[in-house]
């Protein structure tokens, strides 16, 4: 049986990829940094576990949306940095659009009654 990545409760399926793409659009970053950023940016609302973060990152690499490479971090240690590719940017745009539509739709339903 398939094992799906375990996502944060309350996080819509598929949105983790979108968030990671968005984070990387600000510039190359390593895994721990991405998790940190997401936690800070959401005011500690979202806690992204490693169990779902790294598979998501591998997915991006496999799909050609991001590239990975070792380089020195700001603290002087070797870290694996992920860089968004052109395809990744395109993907991000598409996912953002889809997400907006989804949110609008959900709003419509929630406000309707």
């Amino acid at each position: 049986m398939d094992r799906q990545p375990i996502s944060q409760p309350g996080l819509l399926p598929g949105t983790l990829d979108l968030l990671v793409l968005k984070t990387l659009s600000r510039g190359p970053l390593y895994g721990y940094g991405i998790a940190q950023y997401l936690e800070q940016a959401t005011g500690a609302f979202l806690h992204v576990g490693e169990g779902s973060l790294y598979p998501a990152l591998q997915r991006l690499v496999v799909n050609g949306w991001a590239e990975a490479g070792w380089r020195l971090s700001e603290t002087g240690r070797r870290a694996r940095y992920y860089t968004l590719t052109a395809a990744g940017r395109k993907r991000l745009k598409a996912e953002e659009r889809d997400f907006d539509r989804m949110v609008d739709a959900i709003h419509l339903v929630l406000r309707a009654v």
């Binding site: 398939d2 721990y32 998790a35 790294y54 799909n63 240690r77």
Partner: protein, 877 residues
């Protein structure tokens, strides 16, 4: 298709990647620890907490890994393991499915194995791939061998063949001391073993050299089996002298084990070709360019194709027939297999086609059945599948799982079929072949047979595995999760499958019914003579090497002596035994140029009297007629064909020369002196065909018909002794005439038996199918039945309702099946002995059996439905 993604996947999981991931996760943990320390935790706390936060590292690694690999292989193994678990959990279902599939696949495997041995597998000879068989056309579409001079001409002049050998079978009488036995010898050209032999177990082959035609080398090469059974594998046999039909020949070698040459029957020995004329002095075939005929086999030179060789041999053959003033005949070069000869292939292909269609139907039936069982299970598993779909399993994945189950099931059935195909065909063919016949065919599971079984197994798996799988997945989550979700499309699919099953079953059943009818008809055919209390005796002079004159001289005292034995009423003589062997001639006819085909027999004066065939017009034969050999008595059918509306008495008939008949003494005008009632001369189905009997004084091949009044047993026992006391060359055997008739019935018996087995199998399969569908329908309608009963429906009405539902499908299936059955029946025409493919009785019986069994199969589930307790079923909802 995204190519980057595709190539990334193809690259698989790089070795370095795992280390990358480990390093990356270690870095992650490290950073986390550092942050926690900065927030004021102690070092130990920080490490524990960081590790806890990391969650399941192994899981994370696994998840990342899955994104990298082509998961197909590992998934497939997992699918198969899952399938094996599912199947062992339901042994009943698994057993039923595998059994049905084994039936379907094994029947096809056996048939293909036989076809392979006869048509695809080459003879067991040296380097068979390069050897070819060469035939000449006698009449349109009839391919036979060559006359000896014709063969020599081709052999001397061919450039495209590395060699050309000829051989033909001949009987011979082997005398060892006081005992003697009849042997099948093959008279072969001197290069036979060089060209196709596989070596020698002892000694050597023929010494070679074309030599003098009338003085061939006195050499024998024994078959390995003869060496073992007759001479105990003694090496001292090489160099020994044997007496063959009164001539002394020396054993020079023993062929390698397993070598029988390109012939259907295993020969006892090989002798140089020229001996044939010495052992059969009546026919001088070696010098006669018109004689028929020796089989010819050749070896292609490297790079020469069969078509190339055929073109060259055609040219050489045209030269030869021009110089010999013979009609032109075409030459055919074929692969070295038994059925490569088109004249053999045509009749065989009709049988293979009929059998092939039947066994394919059985396979389809088995698949339809298993598909239905699978559908029933798929329905039962809807919830399982729906749950898995909603948990995120992909449709493709579930589909693959169901297909894996199908492959596993049919794989088991395929393996069993391989085992069955290894022993069954040999056994069946031994049953079909008469006693004492030893065939050279090997029914081995070679590459072709294994490939066929693999293919059939795979096709079966796809046929029964995919349809239910597709239905199950298409219905998806919503339907399956609903409590008591009911099948709609599956139900329709099951009905279609059931109707198809019934139709296939109707086809096979009607085939069976037709063949059983044919058998019944054959059994009740009037042979036209009384064969009870008649013994057939073969004096066994065929292979003795004596001339026809000499044979006559030996037969007269034998007949006199047997006629004088107590209990013997009369002794007649005939060249062929009616129903035993068939011999035919063409008789000139005023209206057709081709003439009229008629059975032909040379008989003694008392032949009709002995067999109790009544004379209708004219007179009977006398002793004087025998010596003159110019009078005939014909049956009514011949009289009607040749002289319709006229009296045939006093007319003369002329036998047309055919290449098979080398006897000039038959080609003179023969006077018709009498007409007898019709009788079957050439086997079953020939009872109304023209038949001509000529009075003759007998020959080497004569058989005796002995009518007796007492017990047959003791008389039969002493007959050979009397023959031997008159002359040592008699190799007599005797058997009741009823045995000859039973032998003639064998092919009708056999086809009816095979058809009955196939028909019963298909009926069983269809029964299981009908029962399965009925039981399923009832279980689906339990609630409805409950409601009806609660509203006052009586059990009887419920019973009728359920029966009706299934019968509607059966009616549709049967209607389609009967139409198919009539076209299938046409394939069987040659086996039906005049029963029409549309025979109403056979069709009625088919329909009756079909409906009877369907009603029976539906009865159980219907009864269960009528006993439903409304309270319980309604609570079930």
């Amino acid at each position: 298709m995204n190519w980057t993604r595709f190539f990334n996947r193809l690259k698989g999981r790089p070795a370095a990647h795992e280390e990358d991931l480990d390093a990356e996760l270690a870095f992650h943990q490290n950073m986390k620890e550092r942050d926690l320390l900065a927030r004021g935790m102690t070092e130990g706390e920080a490490r524990r907490s960081a590790r806890r936060g990391m969650g399941n590292l192994t899981l994370a690694r696994e998840e990342a890994y899955e994104a990298w690999t082509i998961r197909w292989l590992s998934d497939s193994i997992r699918d198969l393991r899952h399938a094996a678990r599912t199947l062992t959990a339901q042994p009943g279902f698994t057993l039923a499915t595998v059994l049905a599939l084994v039936l379907g696949i094994a029947v096809n495997a056996i048939l293909f194995n036989v076809y392979n041995a006869l048509a695809l597998a080459p003879w067991a000879i040296r380097d068979a791939k390069q050897t070819v068989q060469v035939f000449s056309e006698r009449r349109a579409g009839q391919w036979i061998g060559f006359s000896w001079p014709h063969f020599r001409h081709l052999q001397a002049n061919t450039q495209s063949l590395a060699g050309l050998a000829a051989f033909s079978g001949t009987g011979t009488l082997v005398s060892q001391g006081d005992a003697s036995w009849g042997a099948n010898a093959v008279a072969a050209s001197e290069n036979y073993f060089e060209l196709i032999g596989t070596g020698f177990a002892a000694g050597r082959g023929f010494s070679g050299g074309t030599g003098n035609l009338h003085d061939p080398a006195p050499e024998i090469v024994l078959h390995y089996d003869t060496w073992m059974t007759r001479f105990g594998g003694d090496r001292g046999i090489v160099g020994a002298w044997l007496e063959l039909s009164g001539r002394r020949l020396q054993v020079v070698g023993v062929a390698a084990a397993g070598f029988s040459g390109p012939t259907t029957n295993i020969p006892h020995m090989w002798i140089p070709g020229a001996w044939r004329d010495i052992f059969n002095p009546a026919q001088k075939i070696l010098e006669n360019p018109n004689s028929c005929c020796v089989s010819v086999i050749g070896r292609l030179k490297p790079g020469v194709s069969r078509a190339g060789a055929q073109a060259e041999l055609n040219t050489l053959s045209t030269q030869f027939v021009a110089s010999a003033k013979r009609e032109k005949s075409r030459v055919l070069v074929t692969a070295p297999t038994f059925l490569a000869n088109p004249s053999r292939f045509r009749p065989a292909s009709a049988i293979f086609l009929a059998m092939g269609a039947a066994s394919l139907l059985i396979l389809l039936l088995a698949c339809a059945n298993v598909a239905n069982l699978q559908l029933a299970r798929a329905t039962a598993r809807r919830r399982e599948i729906a749950v898995r779909l909603s948990l995120g399993a992909s449709r493709g994945r579930i589909l693959r799982q169901l297909v894996a189950e199908g492959l596993l099931l049919s794989g088991i059935a395929g393996a069993a079929s391989v085992a069955i195909s290894a022993w069954a065909p040999g056994g069946i063919v031994r049953m079909i072949a008469g006693p004492g016949e030893s065939l050279t065919f090997r029914f081995a599971n070679d590459v072709r047979v294994l490939a066929f079984i693999l293919f059939a197994t795979f096709v079966a798996a796809m046929l029964f595995g995919l349809a239910p799988a597709l239905t199950a997945v298409r219905d998806g989550t919503a339907m399956g999760l609903r409590e008591g979700g009911r099948a709609t499309s599956t139900g329709r699919m099951r009905s279609i499958l059931l109707a198809a099953q019934v139709a296939l079953c109707a086809i096979l059943l009607s085939g069976t019914a037709l063949l059983v009818r044919a058998l019944d008809r054959v059994r009740h055919l009037d042979t036209g003579f009384q064969y009870e209390k008649v013994i057939v005796m073969s004096p066994g002079l065929d292979a003795s090497g004596v001339s026809d004159e000499r044979a006559r001289g030996l037969l007269v005292p034998l007949i006199e002596r047997i006629g004088g034995l107590p209990g013997v009423e009369s002794v007649a003589r005939a060249s062929v035994i009616p129903y035993g062997e068939g011999f035919g001639v063409r008789v000139a006819d005023r209206r057709t140029e081709a003439g009229v085909n008629a059975g032909f027999n040379e008989v003694s004066a008392n032949f009709f009297e002995t067999l109790r065939i009544p004379l209708l017009h004219g007179r009977s034969f006398t002793r004087g007629d025998e010596a003159r050999m110019d009078t005939v008595i014909i049956n009514e059918a011949a009289a009607q064909r040749l002289w319709p509306g006229e009296s045939p008495l006093g007319k003369t008939l002329q036998i047309l020369p055919t290449l098979r008949i080398e006897r000039k003494d038959l080609m003179r005008p023969l006077e018709v002196i009498g007409v007898v009632r019709n009788f079957g001369g050439r086997g079953f189905g020939t009872e109304r065909e023209p038949y001509i009997c000529m009075a003759s004084p007998g020959a080497r091949r004569s058989r005796l018909l002995i009518r007796h009044s007492g017990e047959a047993g003791p008389l039969m026992m002493e007959l050979p002794k009397h023959a031997r006391e008159i002359d040592r060359r008699f190799l007599a055997s005797a058997a009741p005439y009823s045995e000859t008739i039973a032998n003639a019935l064998r092919s009708a018996n056999l086809s009816a038996a095979i058809a009955s087995v196939l028909g019963t199998l298909s009926l069983l399969l269809a029964c299981v199918g009908i029962y399965g569908v009925a039981a399923y329908n009832v279980s689906q309608r339990t609630r409805e039945v409950g409601v009806r009963m609660a509203l006052g429906a009586r059990p009887r009405a419920i019973l009728a309702m359920v029966l009706k539902q299934n019968l509607r499908t059966v009616v549709v299936g049967a209607a389609v099946g009967i139409v198919g059955a009539i076209s299938f029946g046409r394939l069987l025409t040659s086996l039906l002995y005049g029963v029409k493919p549309t025979d109403p009785l056979a069709m009625l019986v088919t329909i009756a059996i079909l409906f009877g069994t369907s009603a029976l199969a539906t009865w159980g589930p219907a009864r269960r439905a009528s006993r439903v307790d409304p309270a319980i079923t309604l609570r079930h909802e």
